[in-house]
């Protein structure tokens, strides 16, 4: 078995679909139909991943997200029908590991779960030793030596570009919000200046992508942020 997954979802139809997909892929799902149940099961079931619907009948999904992050610390995937970028950004900034908008494809859901679980377990290991190399397709990022290569050729990036790509590669497959990136590269003073990040990203794309209109490695989540492609997405 690959792991325990807590599904917090009030709609029976979607809960059933999710749990049958997960069972078919060797996960152990449990469904909580409201926030109260979810909080109880969090303690008793000890999930490895939480799939969280933000629109719950008894409480705001963000409260559960906060609770999970405070006590349990396992990865949380937001599954929401709310097609509002601001909600997504808010959830991500509060610590959600990823979000997926209804309706979604099965493979997409499974890939996101895999990435979230892997990033989480690696995160625990990483605190011990920080050596890491990111590899995806022909792109290779050596986080220790600060070297980026594409097709075994070294790519020259500016200092900030390198910091951005390294930050993204520390969380492959995970979307990092604009604010998160700006805060970590330029500091909180620059939060208003979204443009500097966007231009830097455009420049990175020109150096790493064959076709900036169909990027393979740097994926834009419009209105939310950026993610670096993960091997399992390709």
């Amino acid at each position: 078995m690959k792991g325990n997954i807590l599904i917090v979802e009030d709609e029976d139809a979607i809960g059933n679909v999710l749990s049958s997909i997960l069972i078919a892929n060797e996960y152990i799902p449990v469904i909580a139909k409201n926030g109260e149940q979810a909080l109880i099961m969090l303690r008793s079931f000890q999930p490895d991943v939480v799939l969280l619907d933000l629109g719950l009948p008894d409480m705001d999904g963000l409260r559960i997200l906060k609770k999970v992050k405070e006590t349990h610390g396992c990865p949380v995937l937001i599954v929401s029908a709310r097609d509002n970028e601001r909600d997504k950004v808010e959830a991500l900034d509060m610590g959600a590991d990823d979000y997926i908008t209804k309706p979604f494809g099965n493979s997409e859901l499974l890939a996101r779960i895999r990435v979230a679980m892997r990033n989480h377990s690696e995160g625990e290991v990483r605190t011990g030793e920080s050596k890491k190399i990111y590899c995806c397709g022909k792109l290779r990022i050596d986080l220790e030596k600060h070297i980026v290569t594409l097709n075994n050729e070294r790519i020259h990036l500016t200092k900030n570009e390198l910091r951005i790509i390294e930050l993204l590669s520390q969380n492959p497959g995970k979307v990092l919000t604009y604010d998160y990136l700006i805060k970590h590269i330029w500091g909180t003073d620059m939060l208003e200046n979204n443009r500097i990040l966007r231009v830097n990203m455009a420049n990175i794309r020109r150096k790493l992508e064959e076709n900036p209109a169909e990027p393979k490695y740097i994926i834009t989540e419009i209105g939310v942020g950026y993610r670096l492609a993960d091997e399992s997405f390709l």
Binding site: A202, R205, I222, G223
Partner: protein, 506 residues
């Protein structure tokens, strides 16, 4: 008095002096000639009288007129009566001559001054009429309230040479809409009270300058048919406004009242038009949804029903095909719903778009990625400038436009061929176009492509399905961004749909 006006005064003095002196000398010389030719002195005082009249006429000054009269009497006495070249006051009748001449001088001067006054007044009236005319011309060309206020302030300031302010009533507040000249936006409490009173009582209040109140203040409400639009305030400096200038300022303000009224009417009209359009869009959407969404739902219900009822007996191949149909129809439904959702972001619900600066390439990349999820064999060839283009837009909505255009090009063009997506930057806008290699559309259909009507009438057939809805939503989104969208058939290729978005935020 400044040095400039004293100079003109001195010039005027010399001008008058030389006029009077010149006329006096000319009269004296003429007298000499007449006496030399006819040896009669009968015309002497007549000639001098003529000089007095002319002097009074030309100078319009009592002083020079009287002086000229005196000169005439002295000249007659001194030059042309015995004893020559000596003043003899013993001659009888001279005081009388002087008196008559002085009377003529006074009378002529009075007439001249009056005439001049009338002439000047006529001049001023004509000038004002010209200014008002020019102002009306300019007023006709503007239709924004801000511009009207700016023009009002400009005219008042130029004509009165005083600091002016304009205030408007907004709800229960009075806001300063603009100021010109050396005026601050803040009024003193006293001035504010006067302004409020003049707005409330709908009349001009003029607090002139006095010894104890050196800051004179004039508030002229802008009224049209009992509707108060606001008030123009004039800060007096040094001296009070003449009655004439006050009347003039009021006339000017009244002219602007008409402009404000016209602007309000046209705004209301615009609002009605917009509401009508939004209403049309809504009713169109409802019709389109009921038609376009019912078709795939029928397919889904039929296919899933067939599998449920005959699942066991049905060949696996057929069951799989039915499930594929369900999957495809559901995906199509989803895309349509995304379209409909995007429209709720515009229109009455949200008149102001929330625009951010976005790199065009990211929006395009995301649109292509989305389309590829549905159409795995989609081929899009993108041409765009190397420079990063940042555009103010709502990225989710523009992504919807690009997705719809690619979707449309894929389904209605020749899906085996590639689709070309071009981005070009012009001076004031960025053009994004999608070119397919299909059959294109005849001109009459091109015109109606974005109105969403024609596909409705031609019921059935997958070719028309959803096209109208998607395209009219594109138009709604692009126009909400103050852009343009258009389509053309390119010979040798196919249909080309392009939209332009302004580079600058207005």
């Amino acid at each position: 008095m400044g040095p400039e006006s004293s100079l003109t005064k001195r010039q005027k003095f010399f001008h008058h002096f030389f006029t009077a002196l010149g006329l006096f000398l000319m009269a004296t010389i003429t007298n000499y000639f007449i006496i030399a030719m006819y040896h009669k002195t009968i015309n002497v005082s007549g000639i001098y009288l003529l000089a007095v009249i002319l002097t009074s006429l030309l100078t319009g000054s009592y002083f020079w007129g009287m002086l000229s009269a005196l000169g005439g009497v002295v000249g007659t006495n001194f030059c042309f009566t015995y004893p020559y070249f000596a003043i003899d006051f013993s001659l009888s009748g001279y005081p009388l001559t002087f008196f008559i001449m002085a009377l003529v001088a006074i009378g002529t001067c009075a007439l001249t001054v009056n005439m001049r006054k009338q002439r000047d007044a006529a001049h001023r009236r004509e000038k004002m009429a010209n200014i008002l005319n020019e102002m009306d011309q300019r007023l006709l060309q503007i239709d924004e309230k801000k511009q009207i206020v700016a023009l009002l302030l400009e005219y008042l300031h130029i004509q009165l040479a005083l600091p002016v302010l304009y205030f408007e009533i907004k709800g229960d507040k009075i806001c300063c809409m603009g100021h010109l000249g050396n005026a601050q936006e803040e009024l003193t409490d006293n001035q504010y009270d006067i302004l409020c009173r003049s707005l409330k009582e709908q009349k001009i209040i003029d607090v002139g300058m006095t010894e104890d109140n050196p800051s004179g203040f004039l508030s002229i409400p802008v009224i049209r048919q009992n509707r108060v639009f606001g008030a123009a305030c004039i800060l007096l400096q040094k001296e009070n406004l003449s009655t004439e200038m006050r009347g003039y300022a009021q006339g000017l303000v009244n002219h602007f009242a008409i402009a404000f009224e016209r602007q309000e009417l046209s705004e209301a009209q615009q609002q009605i038009l917009m509401e009508k359009q939004a209403e049309q869009m809504r009713s169109y959407l409802l019709r389109a949804i009921s038609h376009d969404l019912r078709t795939p739902l029928t397919g889904i219900l039929g296919a899933s029903g067939a599998i449920l009822n005959n699942g066991e007996t049905m060949p696996a191949e057929l069951a799989r095909r039915l499930m594929l149909d369900i999957h495809e129809e559901a995906q199509w439904l989803l895309r349509m719903i995304e379209n409909v959702l995007s429209v709720t972001k515009i229109g009455n619900y949200n008149p102001e778009l929330k625009k951010t600066m976005e790199p065009v390439e990211e929006v395009i990349a995301d649109s292509i990625a989305r389309c590829k999820k549905y159409f795995s064999d989609l081929k899009v060839e993108v041409h765009m400038p190397d420079d990063v283009i940042m555009l103010p837009m709502d990225p989710i909505l523009i992504r919807q436009v690009v997705t719809n255009l690619i979707d449309n090009a894929y389904r209605h063009g020749n899906s085996q061929e590639k689709i070309e997506l071009d981005v070009s930057v012009c001076e004031q806008y960025v053009e994004i176009s999608v070119q397919d290699y299909g059959k294109g559309l005849p001109t009459e259909k091109l015109e109606r492509l974005f109105s969403g009507i024609h596909n409705h009438q031609q019921q059935g057939g997958d070719a028309g399905r959803g096209l109208g809805l998607g395209m009219s939503i594109c138009k709604t989104i692009v126009e909400a961004h103050k852009g343009k969208i258009f389509a053309e058939t390119v010979s040798g290729k196919g249909l080309r749909v392009a939209f332009q978005l302004p580079l600058e935020e207005d």
